[in-house]
Amino acid sequence: MDWASDSLKKLEATREERLLQEPPTLSDADADKLLQEFHPDYLGMERNVRVGPNADTCKFPHELADLLESDSHLPQNFEPSVDIETDVLILGGGGAGASAALALEESGLTVHLATKLRLGDSNTVMAEGGIQASLGVDDSSRRHFADAYVGGHGKNDSDLLRVLCENSADTIRWLGKLGCTLDCNEDGTFRLRSGGGTSVPRVLACKDYTGLEIMRVLKDAVLLSNTQTLQEHAAVELLDDGAGQVTGAVLWDRNKGNLVTVSARAVILATGGSGQLRLQGFPTSNHLGATGDGLVLAYRQGCKLLHGESYQYHPSGTAYPEALVGQLVTESIRSTGAQVVNAEGERFIGEMTFRDVLAAAIIREVAEKRGAQTPTHRAGVWLDTPLIDIINGEGTLRRQFPGIVHRFERYQIDPAKQPILIYPTLHYQNGGIQVDRDGCTEAKGLWAAGEVTGGLHGTNRLMGNSLLDITVFGRRAALSAQNDLPPRRPVTLTCLKKSREQFKNISDRREVLSPQLFPTQAGMKVAFELQKAEEPSATGFNSSGPSTYEPPDPFSK
């Protein structure tokens, strides 16, 4: 990083002094002012939506508003005719969907899980830092609640948040029984780290691969369960009975190129977030499929969205090298000692404050020219990672954060020796579909869980509360669907037809189709044939699904 040598010299020169320094503090009023002036949510890049349950009542980012006012991919003449009949249809193959499927394992119900990509390709698998559970000394579900409530600016749905906090220990035990391994201290207790805005250490982790650990175990368990998985089947529309009950979904089989109509007695939406909408041109830490599909689908069914204007920009997104731009550098690296420092070598904020405040502070430093400029025309501030080994002993960073080391090593950057350049990255959809404590939406027959829902986190989520969210509420939604399973009803496109009538009244609508399914940047096509494919179409390199061929096993008798 020769381009930054001047700035890095300044950073090294102040390091010793900074080690002994108390972090700069910020009053609540100053934090509010910082947010108002610099946080992307507060810049007015939003507008009213003119159709649907939130029409003219609250604002959405332009990118999302366009999608909520857009027409479906389904042709006007498409009429659903049932291909698959199931009891519960789960849409989404991340942590919430997989948790829901596992919760139904003993139910005796037929369960289908459809996912646009492969099972496990999700934001869950990318989560690094950890999962919160009030298992420490001086901690309680109430303290957990208080932290998340203050962090969420008091906009949280208290009922949902209480459920989350009261179920954390039970959820960690559930994950343990499935075979998840979380880091422990030598005395056999879980190792707890601090997160931004936690008042006591409360974050459990598996190195900096916590989401990977949880997702690969959930995925393995789902594949060993009775759940029928429909991988690379993207949901393009929900079906309803014409009388307010959701009765299934139309899926697009990406490999065969045809549409599949599923009739279900309950639909659980677990489609995740929308970072790939790249609001205001921000890079994102999200996976390929995070395009807010579930928001659009539920909205057409008359479900209100809460805090649709609120997004989380993770303070430590990578800003250099170019190939890693937007990718996450876990917050735990800050709780373990890495300081956030501007190009002049100065700390400008306490690293462990709330995410939105820290992100705003970084944006301010760069806006006021105290950031470091990269040769690729980006800018950021330094995350002084070498401090970790200086404070905790040589080898700590490599041991506790192998993911960060592995990722940067490729670019000849050793985070134990050199700082990392960071800039906020679009990370999490704080808002979403309004649900109750059992994941019920306003539409009968439709449940929702995980990032697609809103209310739980208010307008700013704390680290470690989303992995807890998906495992607590994914299971709750499933159990609620099981207990209140409605009778099977006909499949129609009544809600879509109503939406289409409303769209007609808007003249300046953008001609895009929704759900968007893939990032605009990826240029991927959504194309299907209305004829049912009888044979799998010719498959190239991109073919999917397990091949049926298995060579004989020489050890079997």
Partner: protein, 220 residues
Amino acid sequence: MKTVDIKVAGKPVQAREGETVIHALWAAGMAESVKTGCVGGVCGACTITVRFPDGRPGRTDLACLCTAEEGMEVFPCPVDPVPSVAPQASPNAGKLRTAYPTLDRCTKCGSCTSACPMSIPVMDSVLRMQSDQLSVVAEDFTTCIHCGLCRFVCEDRVQPHNMGMWVRRSIGASLGPLKEAVVAVEPEQVEREWKYLLEGNPTERINHARQFRNSGGIEE
């Protein structure tokens, strides 16, 4: 910005220097040619093989981590999943052998280790499985993304990553409940605390929450 010419599945693609193969494919309108999931190096979907023009040995990689270099040839290399075997309590090498009978077929060629994009010492770990050092194996596979490349390149049909998962889940599930430091609190106090946090107008509630964060209790 400087550009480089690469080939993906035989088709020429122009990439900006320093960008990943995935992003080059997006810009070229060829996103569908490599299966993609997280675009962050942890889902294992975008497996490829790479050849270099300058005689360096080719290798396997993930397209979302692999940066484009002049003259590089990229071949999509999707790995089909195979069914896994359910974990068992108190795992040992014998039980692993029953679950995955090809364990002992390893000829120590080392292909799996060189194929692993996460730098896991796969072959050494397979040998550790054979000799019942399962807790080390569990540690070895901590960073496994289940891309399947180790299994894909194995001519002896050993399934290292599936076995790694079996070992990790089996050990994890056998640990039993871990010690928890939570101090038992009287139910009346718990209810009092919830009431304190949940009642009142919005300003009172957030002030109560702010105050509760200081000590973890109600300050009189």
